[in-house]
Symmetry: C2
Subunit: 353 residues, 2 copies
């Protein structure tokens, strides 16, 4: 019997490309057909997957005929339009956009935390969380099961590739424009160096220069001064962990890192948790690597872990003044576990069931 | 009558250079003599201050003879040794090292917050806070006076110049080494690019590559996984604000920014505080610039404010789930208000009294 047919919708984007890498490196699912779907602009492009050359086909209702699982990595409005079409044509849609995440009829799944939720999908759609939320979910899930999470205060150090290939290219261009210029010592000199290199402010996805800077604004504007990214961290964490009353405050900040989001996490639990207990839970978790040895000054950094599947955890400390509270620092590749890998793992979970 | 004599100890360092800039741009104190003091290596160097060429003199007991106020910007062990010598010779020492900050007989002063403390100086020494703590102190002081601060959870985005001129040079060299290399997409490729350019890991002040990375380790190792920088934020905040029981958790992270520290602050007060009330207090404070207009996507960034004297505050939000709690983002030049400027303002306060 041939294996199931999988489609990658948005196969030529930053996340779609990582999805193809994952299909090449993970052989555990014997997919029947692999179908690459993208916009008309990319249709016809040839991409080799598992040793076989595939031709990218244009997004259309017929493109989903015979597809068992369709993995979507496209903007919200395209997912909103096309995921239901894929379902109509018989596929289960696993969607990495924000279109369905907070829909009560769509499960929001991180397999290590709530794999059982894949069965409740009245719309035929399963959502993949936002990459920032996902970067800390396996770590928090492991602690929550034993100690009961109550509160989160989180600050992010988010990578340029959270804005896709456009973000990666812009950061690389900005770094080239400021190199050797000795800027960063006078207000606006970074922006001037970018403008001199032809990198116009109105063309950046980051709202401000990112080279030699940090930008406390990710996503779009929401009510009362919050950004969409900060509210996603709050609302998606509650849904994935199944804690509707979880208290969350997040501040999301873009940093000049290509790929891999980092988060400084202040997590309050129902009862006391020691560093040793947290270490044991992190070491026992399948998708976590503990890098935490203060004596050896060992801790994770994004440039040190980019490209890896697991979430890296370090700097685990008991808060000195807050009861039942841990501080820690996580780094997770936002294109892999933060996007393509988790989507793929949801698909694997569906196949294994 | 001639004005008071001021000495800058460490006049040729990163902070000392900013101190000389401030002496040149602020004419409000009619200093009599200005004496530049540094190590033997820099002695004899000529530096023009207020239009007059000065010769740097070597640090010695006699160098303090006739000095009224000696501003120290040297490492802890040098301050520990030499500030008492300056006092013996008749000076008041204003010290920007960590040597005396937590000494109960040494006031720790941010003039906007606790200027009155300059009079209680049984050792003749006044300490200037750590630059990370200082970056948020004027903002927190303004809110605390009206609303009573109870708890702080803080994550830092700290600039390279927190490690002095060595840190600035290293970051600039690292940026030049990675420019155009398309690194940051594979674990360790940034470190490899630095090594290929001759930038050895054992020579960095940052513990890990800083270009295209963030490093969650600032300062030295303390007990239970904490760093010196994180404990300074806690202990110095308590002392400056006069709240011995203030609850504080800090995570300190170095980012590839040349100068200006940023902090994401989660602050809990005794009573409810609205965004409007916080805005009014920030606007009324003499050393704060409010840059906070979500509708216009206006917020401060370090590259946008470096070189300026005030603390810039933005992203002010009421926490959605925590009572009496504000979130905000501050940027402060760590060499100016974070170091040289605050030291100078302490000296000004002494002269004005």
């Amino acid at each position: 019997m041939p294996g199931p047919t999988v489609a990658i919708v948005g196969a030529t984007g930053a996340v779609g490309s990582v999805m193809i890498d994952i299909l090449n490196s993970r052989e555990n699912v014997p997919w029947g057909e692999i179908r690459l779907i993208a916009s008309a602009r990319s249709a016809g492009k040839k991409i080799t997957v598992r040793g076989v050359e595939h031709t990218v086909v244009e997004l259309s209702p017929e493109a989903f005929d015979g597809v068992d699982i369709a993995m979507f990595d496209v903007p919200d409005e395209l997912s909103a339009q096309w995921a239901p079409v894929a379902v109509e044509r018989g596929a289960i849609a696993v969607d990495n956009s924000g279109a369905f995440r907070m829909d009560p009829e769509v499960p929001l799944v991180v397999p290590e935390v709530n794999a059982d939720r894949v069965h409740e999908r009245p719309k035929g759609i399963i959502a993949n969380p936002n990459c920032t939320t996902l970067s800390m979910m396996t770590a928090l899930g492991a602690l929550h099961r034993e100690f009961g999470l109550r509160e989160l205060v989180v600050s992010s150090y988010q990578a340029a590739s959270g804005s896709g290939q456009e973000g990666i290219d812009r950061l690389q261009e900005e770094i080239a424009a400021v190199a050797g210029k000795q800027v960063g010592e006078r207000a606006g000199d970074v922006a001037e160096a970018l403008a001199a290199a032809g990198l116009l402010a109105e063309q950046t996805p980051f709202k401000a220069p990112l080279a030699m800077n940090v930008v406390p604004w990710c996503g779009s504007r929401k009510d009362d001064g919050w950004t969409s990214e900060e509210l996603k961290v709050r609302n998606e964490s509650r849904k994935i962990l199944g804690i509707p009353e979880l208290k969350v405050s997040a501040t999301c900040v873009r940093v000049p890192v290509v790929t891999t989001h980092s988060l400084a996490v202040h997590a309050v639990f129902e009862r006391e948790i020691s560093v040793e207990q947290a270490h044991r839970l992190f070491e026992a978790a399948p998708s976590i690597v503990l890098q935490d040895d203060p004596a050896g000054e060992v801790f994770p950094t994004p440039a040190g872990v980019v490209g890896a599947d697991p979430t890296y955890v370090g700097r685990v400390r008991q808060a000195l003044d807050f009861p039942n509270t841990l501080e820690f620092f996580v780094c997770g590749d936002n294109l892999r576990k933060g996007a393509a890998l988790n989507t793929y793992e949801i698909a694997e979970t569906l196949v294994q069931d």
